[in-house]
């Protein structure tokens, strides 16, 4: 992560933010966290549809796992209630664990797939789970595999 940030910093001057695409929430299944898998037209020339859809579907699966109401969540809830929720001072909730997994997944996707194509995904938690923000960079440097950072570099360096 530190190396990536260092590279992004160095190449900052060689790429500029052209546009941002926002993938909105999909509320057709209620209030659970899902994002629309509709492929935005601005990314047509930048990335393959299947790769994008895979990313969004995986993210949706992660969120569904975090919000699943089942045996484990009941156990966690009852345990927390009996300890008057003090237990969360020591232990992190399942949701928080999944959010960390999501953070690592997004960073991995950025490094392997999106950054080489001049794109950067922002973790939805930084936008209040409203949107997946994809920043599109224009490559000014001659080499093809540059990735730039301006306002969103701070997020991946977090």
């Amino acid at each position: 992560m530190a190396t990536e940030f260092h590279n992004l910093q160095e190449l900052r001057h060689s790429a500029s933010l052209a546009n941002k695409v926002f993938i909105q929430r999909d509320y057709s299944e209620g209030t659970t966290c899902r994002f629309q898998t509709k492929f935005p037209s601005e990314l047509d020339s930048r990335i393959e549809r299947t790769l994008f859809e895979d990313t969004v579907k995986t993210l949706n699966n992660y969120y569904a796992e975090a919000e699943k109401i089942g045996g484990q969540s009941y156990l966690e809830g009852c345990l927390a209630c009996t300890t008057a929720y003090i237990i969360f001072l020591c232990m992190e909730t399942r949701y928080e664990k999944v959010l960390k997994k999501i953070g690592r997944y997004i960073q991995e996707q950025n490094e392997k797939i999106y950054a080489p194509r001049g794109l950067l995904i922002t973790d939805p938690i930084e936008r209040g789970m409203r949107v997946i923000e994809i920043s599109i960079y224009e490559d000014r440097a001659s080499s093809g595999s540059s990735s730039g950072s301006s306002s969103t570099s701070g997020t991946s360096a977090r």
Binding site: F22, T31, E67, I69, G77, F88, T155
Partner: protein, 498 residues
């Protein structure tokens, strides 16, 4: 350093000294470099933060302190004056159970008051611009057939069409079940109501704490009430009833007041717990219940799309579901180059000028109407109270959707300070049947905020207003009128002495 003059070194030193002493702008930037600010310090909503962002409450917290004082004083009196007798004459388990209950109540109250109810952070400027562009595009495009206005999006959830409204303050389309709280100036997910007694909104993240608070408080008040009565009875068995009462004020000066406080608390809190148990089992929010969103009166095939169909599953989902993390990251540090959300509210309570004129008018209308209703309804309280004894069936459409909370709280109609918790929570659900969505959350304003000409009886107004709303013909019960009238007068007398 900053000015790039001919004598850089000397000027640098001079500037550094100046920075520390005089120039405010440079002092600020210098300070920023040393102590980065946290996000709660620039939070756009009308909230108050304590403990460096760990605690989050609404702006008006006076009533919350009243709640705390009431609970602690009543419990304190119980432990000090009744427990010694009961522990020695009955069983020492009584103070132990009482103590555990008391601590649980306090814990849940503090958790409900101090946590983030599920505030949705405002849109960043880029997001807002993107949405505006989409809405303009939708406006411009022509097409046949019905199309909802661009500031509303329709979604089909489990077969029901739900409208998502655009929030002008937060610049987002509100998720389903979210609502904008005008007191806190935030959009809150799964918005239930703004509770002045708890000093915070009740939403997705703290609803279970709120529910457990009122449930455990019901048990605590019933517990205290029962054992205080037991104490009086046991004492009277020994020395006669009159002697027991005489002894009470002398030796145990406040037993009588404890009983009165508990009596009214029991009815209002138990009633409120019952109401919220109903809400949880049907997976509705107070907001939805009051608006009658899923009532079959609205449309024949209207049903709640969020309900799991099963009472047990609904309860488990509400109480044992996953605990969502806070979306506003209060204690995070502000990155100097990250986009900050738009904040039109300067936090001083002034109405943002960029809001839609209609929105403003409706808010103003709400405020005016609320004041008018509350003032007008105050006078009937002194004469007769149309009271619902028990639930009078499904509330008729229009005004009596408040019948739910009212019916469960009816016996506590005369309002003493002790009954405030129940009273207020029902009272703060007082909404006007205004078609505009922004008014639905214009709930009971805490007594400090409301310029009431009626003084102490202003605390009584929410119930009076309930009475004013309810259809008297359905609800008038002459048998209970006299006792309630007496009680209400007594209540007002008590209030004026507080």
């Amino acid at each position: 350093m900053h000015l790039g003059l001919d004598e850089p070194v000397r000027e640098c030193q001079y500037n550094q000294i100046c920075t520390r002493n005089s120039s405010p702008m440079e002092t600020l930037s210098h300070k920023k470099k040393r102590t980065p600010r946290r996000k709660w310090q620039i939070f756009p909503g009308r909230n108050r933060f304590y403990c460096n962002g760990r605690v989050m409450m609404a702006r008006q917290t006076g009533v919350f302190y009243l709640t705390l004082v009431l609970i602690m004083v009543t419990s304190g009196l119980f432990f000090a004056f009744d427990c010694p007798f009961l522990a020695s004459n009955l069983t020492p388990a009584i103070p132990v159970i009482g103590g555990v209950l008391f601590l649980f109540v306090l814990g849940m109250l503090l958790r409900a008051s101090f946590s983030d109810p599920g505030v949705l952070p405002r849109a960043t400027p880029d997001e807002a611009a993107d949405l505006e562009r989409q809405m303009d595009a939708a406006n411009g495009s022509s097409g046949p057939g019905y199309r909802p206005p661009p500031r509303i999006r329709e979604v089909v959830i489990n077969g029901q069409t739900v409208k998502l409204k655009y929030c002008f303050t937060c610049k987002i389309f509100r998720p389903p079940r979210a609502s904008h709280c005008s007191l806190c100036d935030n959009c809150v997910e799964r918005f239930d109501h703004h509770c002045p007694w708890v000093g915070n909104c009740v939403g997705k993240r703290n609803y279970r704490f709120f529910y457990l608070f009122i449930l455990s408080l019901s048990f605590l008040t019933i517990f205290i009430f029962a054992f205080v009565i037991t104490h009086v009875i046991l004492r009277s068995n020994r020395s006669g009833f009159l002697n027991a009462l005489k002894d009470s004020p002398a030796r145990y000066p406040l037993t009588g007041r404890e009983v009165v406080v508990c009596f009214f608390s029991v009815w209002s809190i138990v009633g409120l717990s019952g109401f919220h148990t109903y809400l949880i089992s049907s997976n509705q929010t107070t907001n939805e219940d009051i608006k009658g969103s899923w009532s079959t009166k609205r449309a024949k095939n209207n049903y709640n799309p969020y309900s799991y169909g099963n009472v047990l599953t609904n309860c488990c989902a509400a109480l044992c579901g996953p605990l969502h993390p806070s979306l506003i990251d209060r204690r995070g540090f502000i990155q100097p180059d990250t986009p900050q959300p738009l904040s039109h509210s300067n936090g001083s309570g002034l109405y943002p000028s960029t809001q839609n004129h209609t929105h403003m008018c409706d808010q103003e209308h709400c405020i005016q109407s609320t004041k008018f209703v509350l003032q007008a309804a105050a006078t009937p309280l002194l004469h007769s109270d149309p009271v619902m004894m028990g639930r009078a069936g499904p509330p008729p459409s229009g005004k009596t959707s408040l019948g739910g909370p009212c019916s469960s709280l009816a016996p506590s109609q005369p309002s003493l300070p002790s009954s405030m918790p129940g009273l207020g929570c029902a009272g703060d659900m007082l909404t006007l049947r205004d078609p505009d969505a922004h008014c639905h959350h214009h709930h009971f304003v805490s007594p400090e905020e409301m310029p009431s000409p009626l003084g102490p009886s202003s605390l009584v107004l929410p119930f009076a207003a309930h009475g004013g709303h309810l259809n008297p013909a359905q609800l008038y019960d002459p048998a209970s009128q006299d006792s309630l009238h007496e009680d209400s007068v007594r209540g007002l007398v008590k209030l004026s002495s507080v």
